[in-house]
């Protein structure tokens, strides 16, 4: 025994609608009062199963513009011109004709364009050039052309050219004449689908069972058990959903948080220091000579208010002063100049977060101690795609009996690997307060090159010893924005701080 076909209520209605014979989808929609998309879903499903035959044909629909009826009534310009010329004896000089046509308010260029296209008028060269009615024009004067008849039919409701053809209008002529005359009517291609039952379908319909179909289940459907008889309409699961975005952490903040987590995982203590900082901690404590160009007004923001702040107690300041002047007890030659308290009292916006780590070192000079800081730093720069006057640094120190150049490279490798850069490389560099100094580079697979991420090294004894630290201190100052730009695929540093949420939404959280 053949199992009965199970149809949804919708499908049943569609099947019934074509039981009597082939029908246009539009007619089915009208009969069933179903949404066209539902009709099509049912029809295509039935077609796949061999129950329906769906024939498509493309038809041309003529859609006159709103004032087409009035213009037709009045006579198209070329038709009016035809009368004008016949009244004038069949021909006129072009200037004369133009003058008369314009007097009647007729657009001359249209007359020539469409009149010539119809073969009603022709222009002859000569002195003066003439325009005259052709034989075809004379024949046409009282006979509506195909396109005029088509327009009238369309205005009366017979809009498809194939239907008009049944009433004697030549569709080819209509297409030729109206296809480009869009100020009068638009010709549109319409796909018409004719649905019919196959023999198999007709047979299946006779023994079809009906199943209820809904878009979603209502609470009553659950409670009553009706859900058993309800089919949820299947979806095309290949279609995308509606685009929505979550409220997001700022991408730079996210990378900052990953940076913090990386150092926390490596056993570092997080430290901070003030953004408004004394020159003492920002420069002098790092053995930066007081006449160093980096301390120049050109590079450093100096505060007008507060302009000066008292120095730390003498037990902190004195060893620093002595180290600057002659090396103090550090075994160094020092800078050999007279160190100025006044200069150290000046207030700057910190030019590096090393100010935070040197303060941490002064507070915890003994090993083991590992500290990091991610914070704002300030440089007296203008704004460009490469530079901002304010940006973040990733700073860190390691005070350890086994701290060394080799462990510096190991620590930084571990950090960058945690940040997603598998290959890390180092090269010698020369920075004023570390010895040796090291540049850190990471390999960007996507760009196929090594990119410099920042500077690092071992604090000079002139830096660490005045604070009572007798062990090697590993130190680094790395760029956060540079790292973030690589990860986020930005090429302009300003993109990181632009307010556009549209742009930020495009940055996936995984980047």
């Amino acid at each position: 025994m053949i199992a009965p076909v199970v149809l949804t209520e919708t499908a049943k209605k569609v099947w019934e609608a074509v039981r009597a014979g082939p029908k246009d989808v539009a007619d089915v929609v009208q009969t069933t009062q179903l949404d066209q998309s539902l009709v099509m879903v049912a029809a295509l499903e039935a077609q796949q199963q061999g129950f329906f035959d769906v024939k498509e044909r493309v038809r041309l629909e003529l859609d006159p513009v709103p004032d087409a009826a009035a213009r037709l009534q009045q006579g198209l310009p070329e038709r009016q011109a035809l009368r004008l010329l016949i009244d004038a004896g069949g021909s006129l000089s072009v200037p004369d004709f133009t003058q008369r046509a314009q007097a009647q308010g007729l657009p001359v260029h249209e007359i020539f364009r469409w009149g010539s296209a119809r073969g009603w008028v022709e222009r002859t060269k000569g002195q003066p050039p003439m325009v005259r009615v052709t034989d075809a024009g004379r024949l046409a004067v009282d006979e509506p052309a195909d396109d005029e008849r088509a327009l009238r039919l369309a205005l009366e409701g017979t809009r498809f050219l194939d239907e008009q053809a049944l009433q004697g209008v030549d569709p080819v002529a209509v297409e030729q004449l109206l296809g480009k005359r869009t100020d009068l009517a638009k010709l549109r291609k319409r796909t018409q689908r004719i649905l019919s039952l196959t023999t198999q379908g007709l047979e299946a319909l006779s023994r079809a069972k009906v199943k209820r179909e809904q878009n979603a289940l209502a609470p009553e459907d659950f409670q009553s058990g009706a859900w058993r008889d309800i089919t949820l309409r299947p979806y095309d699961v290949t279609l995308p959903g509606k685009t929505v975005y979550p409220a997001k952490i700022h991408p730079l903040r996210k990378i900052m948080e990953q940076t913090r987590r990386a150092f926390l995982e490596l056993g570092f203590e997080e430290v901070v220091s003030p953004m408004v900082e004394s020159a003492f901690w920002n420069f002098d404590a790092l053995f930066q000579p007081q006449d160093h160009p980096a301390r120049d007004m050109q590079d450093t923001f100096y505060m007008l208010d507060p302009a000066r702040i008292p120095l730390p107690p003498p037990e902190v300041v004195e060893p620093v002063r002595r180290t600057h002047e002659h090396g103090g007890d550090t075994g160094s030659t020092g800078w050999g100049y007279k160190w100025s308290e006044r200069e150290a009292e000046r207030v700057v916006l910190r030019t590096h977060t090393t100010a935070a780590t040197i303060r941490a070192l002064a507070a915890h000079p003994n090993p083991p101690y590992k500290a990091f800081c991610v914070g704002w730093t300030y440089r007296n720069e203008t704004i460009s795609f490469k530079h901002l006057p304010v940006f973040h640094q990733i700073e860190g120190i390691v005070i350890d009996e086994q701290a060394s150049l080799a462990t510096l490279l190991g620590t930084l490798t571990a950090f960058y690997q945690k940040m997603g850069f598998a290959k890390v490389r180092f090269k010698p560099a020369f920075y004023p307060y570390t010895e040796p100094s090291v540049d850190v580079m990471v390999y960007m697979e996507s760009r196929g090159k090594w990119i410099e991420m920042g500077g690092s090294g071992i604090f000079r004894p002139e830096v660490s010893e005045p604070f009572g630290c007798k062990h090697p201190v590993l130190a680094w100052g790395l760029g956060l924005e540079r790292l973030a730009m690589l990860r986020l695929g930005f090429s302009d540093i300003r993109q990181l701080y632009q307010g556009s949420l549209d742009a930020m939404e495009e940055v996936a959280l995984c980047r």
């Binding site: 700022h250 056993g267 923001f301 203008t382 150049l405 490798t413 560099a429 020369f430 920075y431 090291v438």
Partner: protein, 611 residues
């Protein structure tokens, strides 16, 4: 950072081996140079002085001579094209500024030569008498060191290299001629003895480089291009320093310009070099670096006798300096598997001499060239050990000591606030912590206060205020997003800086969160419910009281204080909304995040401290 172009084929000629460019670049990289790129660089000839002029990147033609300053409308004629290695200068290593210094370093690194280069010198018959007036406060440029250089002959490329080195030493050591400046002359145009003295600005005019008429010192400073550029260095002088020869011809007026008659040219083979300045360290370093580099290009050094304050001095003094290095200290500092042999070989490779000073080979005497002014501590020698050992040979490792990581409590509180606001559909923004009086006060209808954290010297005139509230940033973000569908909800979490005479640096910082809602239904009530939700989640119980602030609408603003938390919220005044180019109601909340009562659990002390 200035850039220097090194002619790769000349480099190979001096290295006496055809190294492929990539091998040279790798070696330069591993001795610490910053190789920018390798380019094909055209060279031109100046029709005036016949000197070679290097093309510059991005410029198709050259119309001005870098040596004599001659300019013409027609582009100069191209002589040839060289393969140039472009290097960023290393400010700390002037001895690597030019091809001579780089050849010396590469010979060591590539194994061509090792140990200390020899800088022998013989006496010349040149004497320079220094007049005491150069030490007077009103004409102060007291330090002078000189040398005589003998060369087979100055050729095209050497002239270019010499001028470039002079320029770069002025930048890197001389602080743009302030601390030290160099004069180089054709010795055959000079009759000794030479006198270093001072002149009244209007006395003894001479023909400076690049012009044909004699000019007085005063005229040079006001009319000659170099004079105008460096006049500030003599601004406090009422007499100008000059070098004058036995016939009374002026050699130069340091640190401004040389005379035309003594200038060096192609074919010169005896050069007189002087360095004057106000820092003896910079003056000596400049001279030592310059002459040592020229030795690598085939020069012979001869000393000059300088007579000052009845004392005599033979310069340059290129006697190597010494440092004592302890093997175990070096091993500890660097963490490298060093023994006496590898330590010594590494330093030889860096062109230093080293010998053990004890039987057990644990301590070493290191001799380094006079120009290595960067060495002021044994750790500087350790750096040379590391570079000589090869950074690429270093086995990276971690310190084995256990430490416990710990984050800052304000970060934990911020993280909680962020989690709550993201959950409530607020998006995070970040903005720069520097702003303007107009954005920070005036647009919020606040008078600019008498005192606020204020920057004195910003390059961007706009950036004068360190922010004390977060409202400017979020309002700017609302402005940037005003075309997005309403309502809009966003927040920022960051520090603000507040003047506080009690704080050690005169400024106290607070961690704040600021959030806003913009839209037709945004108002006190919507903001309040979000704030309530945030505080509830944080376990903060707050009591509110009405407040009146110029940036809020009257009757629609409140403040609260709860332990270390405090905050303010309200509907922004329409004038504020309009001032940011907006036209929808905006409700704004700014909270100072305090410390949480029951969380986090206090973390264990990081580690036992060894003292």
């Amino acid at each position: 950072m200035p850039i220097v172009n090194i002619d790769a084929s000349w480099l190979n000629e001096l290295l006496e081996k055809p190294y492929p460019p990539q091998q040279l670049i790798d070696a330069l990289d591993q001795i610490g140079c910053d190789v920018e790129e390798v380019v094909e660089l055209p060279r031109y000839r100046c029709p005036q002085c016949q000197a070679l002029v290097e093309g510059s990147l991005g410029a198709d033609t050259v119309k001005q001579c870098s040596l004599c300053g001659f300019t013409q409308m027609q582009p100069f004629e191209i002589v040839d094209t060289i393969t140039a290695i472009r290097l960023d200068l290393l400010a700390a290593r002037p001895d690597l500024f030019d091809i001579g210094g780089l050849v010396r370093a590469l010979q060591g690194y590539l194994g061509e030569k090792k140990g200390l280069p020899s800088f022998t010198s013989t006496r010349s018959d040149i004497i320079v008498n220094v007049d005491p007036s150069v030490c007077q406060p009103n004409s102060y440029r007291p330090f002078l060191r000189c040398a005589v250089i003998e060369l087979p002959s100055v050729d095209d490329r050497m002239l270019v290299a010499l001028m470039k080195l002079q320029e770069n030493l002025h930048w890197g050591v001389g602080r743009d001629r302030k601390l030290a400046s160099i004069g180089i002359y054709d010795l055959d145009t000079i009759k000794g003895p030479i006198t270093y003295k001072t002149l009244h600005p209007d006395d003894e005019p001479f023909v400076p480089l690049g012009v044909s008429e004699p000019m007085s010192g005063r005229k040079i400073l006001s009319e000659h291009s170099k004079g105008i550029a460096y006049a500030h260095l003599l601004a406090n002088h009422d007499r100008y320093p000059v070098l004058v020869d036995a016939d009374g011809h002026v050699l130069s007026m340091p640190p401004i310009i040389n005379s035309e008659r003594t200038k060096i040219k192609i074919g010169s083979h005896r050069l007189f070099v002087d360095v004057t300045g106000i820092s003896i360290a910079a003056v000596e370093n400049t001279l030592h670096t310059l002459v040592s580099s020229l030795v690598e290009l085939g020069a012979t050094i001869r000393t000059v006798r300088i007579v000052q304050d009845e004392k005599e001095l033979e310069t340059p003094d290129l006697t190597p300096k010494q440092a004592i290095v302890d093997l175990s200290q070096a091993k500890q500092w660097l963490g490298l598997p060093l023994d006496a042999h590898t330590l010594m070989e590494s330093l030889f490779r860096m062109r230093l001499d080293v010998e053990p000073i004890d039987e057990s080979k644990t301590r070493f005497r290191v001799r380094y060239p006079a120009f290595r002014s960067d060495i002021r501590h044994t750790v500087d020698v350790f750096e040379d050990v590391a570079i000589g050992f090869g950074f690429q040979n270093i086995q990276a490792k971690l310190v084995p000591t256990m430490t416990v990581g710990s984050s800052r409590t304000e970060e934990q509180t911020s993280d909680l606030a962020r989690t709550i606001l993201l959950g409530l559909g607020y998006s995070e923004i970040m903005s720069l912590p520097m702003t303007t009086e107009s954005d920070h006060y005036e647009r919020f209808r606040m008078p600019v206060p008498n005192r606020y954290p204020r920057v004195g010297n910003p390059k961007l005139k706009a950036l004068t205020v360190v922010r004390q509230h977060l409202m400017s940033g979020v309002m700017q973000a609302l402005h940037d997003n005003r075309r997005r569908p309403m309502p809009q909800r966003l927040f920022e979490i960051d520090n603000v800086a507040l003047l506080d005479d009690e704080a050690p640096t005169g400024c106290r910082e607070e961690r704040r969160v600021c959030f806003v809602e913009m839209g037709k239904d945004a108002g006190y009530a919507t903001a309040r419910s979000i704030l309530d939700a945030m505080l509830r989640e944080m376990g903060v119980e707050a009591a509110y009281s009405a407040t009146q602030q110029p940036w809020f609408t009257a009757g629609r603003a409140a403040r609260f204080q709860a332990g270390s938390f405090e905050g303010i919220l309200g509907e922004l005044h329409p004038e504020v909304i309009l001032a940011f180019g907006l036209d929808h109601p905006v409700a704004l909340v700014e909270v100072t995040l305090g410390s949480l009562r029951s969380w986090p659990i206090p973390h264990p002390r990081t580690t036992e401290r060894s003292s």
